[in-house]
């Protein structure tokens, strides 16, 4: 065996970076041995069922608990009146507002939490909930955010009608929450005034829901004797969750343990602190018994963690050759009844200002106005960073609108405006510094792979054929994401910076336990973090155990959302491992009796330069570190903790192309091909990456083609079960083709950027662009999502393309 074969074998043994290592977490899941929230069963545990409002806007005039309390098995019924003595009937939100935990005199959205019935089992709890009699006096509801700002509109939040500010800047109307702006308005206006070409489009991101397969829930268990509170919860942010619980309850944070076990999907839905958690916790404190609260699917779709509801206007100004001179984007954001939108303190509209996309746009201005309506609060980022899907959707749609106006090809318009490789790091007109990118190369690779010219020729031929039963559309999306929140100077929640952490303990035999501040919901952290550490430490990933989610064990971190696990906690893992390797180097030098500078690292050992037979493996050093044979003055052990505050966010990007064939008689869209090229920098586990991309594209497909939470004019929810809400099955879901380029992140310890949200963020505009492109030759510049067969058929009907020739 040659030397290089030996090196390869040693490297493969580690299963480190770049290896398609099979997932460590699968073993329990394929046996049905996962521990999800509803699997937790504690002695004496009560079940809490929530009584919800049938009205979107109404005063509560009376609540009668008597019949419910008479029900066998019912232990108690809690209402706002019962929470008042502990001052927990309202709770502060991350957005600077307050939210009713249980409705206090008034309900502001349908299905709002009014009471919780505690009973000995689930059936009894729901029996009891059906018997709580609540009298309401109905009020006019506001569903349309435009109407919310009309003069004389009903005031949704009388409790804060006099407040001049909610979280950010002055309010202009009792239903107005904030106005947030970025960029230079005067410069953008000037660019428009002098532009050869301008385009404007109204573009909706409908209200949708992440709809993880497991709904939200918790088991709160307060021990009266010790004053110790344990909360098992489906939370993507266990540490922040504990901090909030401490702030709300007054229980010392050190006496609260939050445990996130296995989580059945999150996608943003499991970031907020919901009223159900708070009531269950209070109920446990009051009764001294563990209390479980689990959402039904209807509860989940109706009340927790909606996303989007951004009513946008996009404007671009360009030269005659399509080079963009100015951008003006605005959004009216429907936040529902309380401003409990997930956001960082200084970023009330999240990262919406990434809306200049992958393009060098010299002048830009954007503005978001948030308003109250009689809909559920708690807006989350559905498989994206905060408001990034909204931003990317807008720019990627507007690029197509501009191309159509100019008669320029939709790939070419992008190429002309891309930030060029030599311009990185590139600071956008809205203030973000894109760290790296190779946009032209990514697009060109995709166009070549799909034979773009050939597709356009086929499309032209079909358009020329009056008997062609289908409309062919080609969608392109060349997006740039912004993930990995984030630098503490920019990003905090409740004052806590969004750093993350890793605590690594190496044992004498070389086995490792690493604990991180994040929380996997299926992303495969137990595998990928182990691979990062394996490469850094030269110890096999198979012997590295990853633990997250138990606040008693793991170091503090901001959790898993916004594709921040690899960019932030993954960086902490690498940094902590490097501290350990630095110490190991000192031990190796001591053992080999050479200077540290005489050593070089090779896969799993330190070698003496020029004398390769003299070496100490990491495994040997692990044992020695626990003996007396270490350099004088050094402490035993091989452990390290790292708290990583990223210097910048990361900017994964991609080029996607979608081909659709739309049946012009039925409006049904068939996705013929979807080609997704992603650049997430350094790739840790190609198998896991591909899985994340498949999943993200499927969620993008769902949003673009069918998802929407609809309401009638009275605020009644019209689609809150899986009968109505579109979750694609294996039948509808297209087959995905994936590809990649690698442009490492220059400021991340291992060059990684994050990946799981790119396919969602970049995929949605790609589908929309494809559907709309199918109608482009008919003068159509925009169609709002979702592109369901019914809605697309209506477009066919309006354009008269659903008529057979001669009929």
């Amino acid at each position: 065996m040659g030397e290089s074969a030996e090196l390869t074998e040693r490297e493969q043994k580690l299963q480190g970076l770049g290896t398609a290592m099979l997932r460590r977490e699968d073993a329990r899941f394929i046996r049905g041995q996962g521990t999800y929230i509803d699997d937790i069963k504690l002695e004496g545990m009560l079940f809490g069922a929530i009584v919800r409002s049938p009205y979107a806007h109404a005063r509560i005039t009376a609540i009668d608990k008597a019949r419910a309390l008479a029900m066998p098995g019912v232990v108690a019924v809690l209402t706002a009146e019962d929470l008042k003595p502990v001052k927990l009937h309202w709770m502060p939100t991350a957005g600077g507002d307050v939210q009713a935990v249980l409705a206090d005199e008034k309900v502001c959205f349908q299905y709002q939490e009014v009471a919780m019935v505690l009973a000995q089992d689930r059936y009894a709890a729901y029996d009891g909930a059906a018997l709580v009699e609540v009298e309401y006096e109905e009020l006019p509801a506001i569903i349309d955010p435009q109407q919310a700002l009309a003069p004389g509109a009903p005031v949704i939040r009388e409790d804060i009608a006099d407040r001049k500010e909610v979280g950010h800047g002055p309010r202009t109307h009792p239903n107005h929450i904030f106005t947030w702006e970025a960029g230079d308005k005067a410069a953008a206006d000037a660019a428009f005034a002098g532009a050869a070409v301008t385009v404007r489009e109204e573009i909706l991101n409908p209200r949708v829901h992440p709809c993880p397969l497991e709904t939200c829930g918790c088991v709160a268990s307060f021990n009266k004797a010790t004053g110790y509170l344990t909360v098992y919860v489906t939370s993507q942010i266990p540490h922040l969750f504990r901090t909030v619980l401490a702030m709300l309850s007054g229980i010392a944070e050190s006496r609260i343990r939050v445990v996130g076990g296995d989580i059945g999907g999150g996608f943003g839905n499991k970031v907020p602190i919901y009223p159900g958690y708070v009531v269950a916790t209070v109920a446990s404190i009051v009764t001294g018994l563990p209390v479980k609260w689990i959402e039904s699917r209807i509860d989940n779709l109706s009340t927790t963690g909606f996303a989007r509801d951004y009513h946008c206007v996009g404007e671009l100004a360009a030269d005659r050759d399509g080079r963009i001179r100015g951008l003006r984007f605005s959004a009216l954001a429907d936040h529902g009844a309380f401003n409990s939108q997930v956001s960082a303190s200084k970023l009330p509209a999240g990262l919406f200002s990434i809306c200049t996309g992958s393009y060098a746009i010299p002048n830009a201005y954007c503005r978001v106005d948030a308003v109250y309506t009689n809909k559920a609060p708690g807006g989350v980022a559905y498989r994206c960073s905060l408001r990034v899907t909204e931003a990317v959707y807008l720019i990627e749609r507007m690029m197509d609108v501009l191309a159509q106006k100019l008669g320029v090809d939709k790939a070419e318009i992008r190429r002309r405006n891309f930030v060029k490789p030599e311009q990185f790091p590139y600071t956008t007109a809205l203030g973000w510094t894109l760290d790296s990118g190779a946009y032209h190369a990514a697009l060109d690779k995709v166009l070549k792979a799909v034979d773009y010219e050939g597709l356009r020729r086929e499309q032209a031929a079909k358009r020329a054929d009056p008997n062609c039963p289908t409309l062919m559309g080609i969608g392109i999306s060349t997006f740039t994401e912004i993930v990995g929140a984030g630098p503490t100077k920019v990003c905090d929640i409740l004052g806590i910076g969004l750093f993350d952490s890793c605590d690594i303990r190496v044992h004498p035999t070389g086995a490792v336990i690493a604990r991180l501040g994040t929380m996997s919901q299926g992303q495969g952290h137990a595998t990928t973090y182990a691979q990062i550490i394996a490469t850094e430490l030269g110890l096999p990933a198979s012997d590295i155990v990853i633990e997250e989610g138990d606040t008693d064990k793991a170091p503090y971190g901001a959790g898993t959302w916004g594709s921040r696990s690899t960019p932030v906690a993954g960086a902490a893992a690498a940094q902590a491992a490097r501290k350990i390797r630095d110490k190991a180097r000192k031990i190796a030098a001591h053992l080999l009796e050479v200077g540290e500078g005489d050593l070089e690292w090779e896969i799993d050992r330190f070698k003496v330069k020029g004398s390769p037979s003299q070496a100490k493996t990491m495994k040997e050093i692990c044992m020695v570190a626990h003996t007396g044979n270490i350099p004088p003055g050094m402490e035993q052990g091989l452990n390290a903790v790292s708290y990583y505050d990223p210097p910048n966010l990361t900017y994964p990007f991609g080029a996607y192309l979608c081909v659709v064939d739309i049946d012009r008689f039925t409006g049904e869209t068939h996705v013929r091909r979807f080609y997704a090229l992603d650049d997430c920098g350094t790739r840790i586990n190609p198998m896991v990456i591909e899985g994340q991309i498949h999943g993200g594209l499927t969620e993008a497909f769902a949003v673009a083609m069918g998802q929407q939470l609809p309401f009638d004019e009275n605020g009644n929810h019209l689609g809150n079960s899986l009968l109505d809400y579109f979750v694609p099955t294996a039948m509808e879901t297209p087959r995905w083709e994936t590809d990649h380029t690698v442009t490492p992140c220059p400021h991340h310890p291992i060059g990684a950027k994050g990946v799981a949200e790119s396919p969602h963020v970049g995929g949605i505009p790609c589908f929309s662009n494809a559907v709309i492109d199918a109608f482009a030759h008919l003068g159509v510049t925009h169609m709002d999502m979702p592109h369901s067969a019914w809605r697309v058929w209506q477009k066919c009907q309006a354009l008269g393309v659903n008529k057979r020739a001669g009929s």
Partner: protein, 163 residues
């Protein structure tokens, strides 16, 4: 609630006996009374399939089967797939093909695929997609689930006794 009813059935080959109200759904009996938490609850309206189990040789969604309907039945759950310490070909294939992420749909997917391969040992990709369409997954986009079922079908065809 009015009275309970004794029900006995075979669960993963062992006879079990429970006392349940007439309205109790099989998923709750399995999870709450019989400590089989492999089958999951995702919707309680038969749409998501996370609660899929095998009952008398058919795939059923245990959130819409009454336990009292199961007297004398043969019920198989994900917990019964592993035999004698050996994973079922489907379990192994889901692992090897990365056919799962959060794992919540996995027990239902496995049980549906188990029955599908008995109904059709050599399904095409389209037949797998159609045959699995009653089971929702939010994580994988199904592509690797399809690959896993195909891989398991090949393995079972090569060693039919293992089915």
């Amino acid at each position: 609630m009015a009275g309970t009813h004794p029900v006995a059935f075979k669960l993963n080959g062992k006879t079990v006996a429970v006392e349940v109200e007439a309205r109790e759904l099989l998923i709750y009996t399995l999870r709450e009374k019989l400590a089989h938490t492999g089958p999951h609850i995702g919707c309680e309206t038969s749409h998501c399939g996370a609660c899929t189990v095998d009952c008398n040789g058919m795939s059923v969604k245990s959130c819409t089967v009454l336990t009292v309907q199961c007297g004398g039945a043969e019920v198989l759950t994900v917990e019964g797939l592993e035999r004698g310490g050996a994973l079922h070909a489907l379990q192994q294939a889901f692992h090897e093909q990365h056919g799962l992420q959060c794992g919540y749909c996995t027990p239902g997917m496995l049980m549906r695929a188990y029955r599908l391969l008995q109904e059709n040992p050599k399904p095409s990709e389209q037949e797998i997609r159609y045959g699995m369409a009653g089971n929702l997954c939010r994580c994988t986009g199904y592509q690797n689930i399809v690959k896993a079922v195909q891989a398991a079908a090949r393995k079972l065809a090569a060693a039919p006794a293992a089915a």
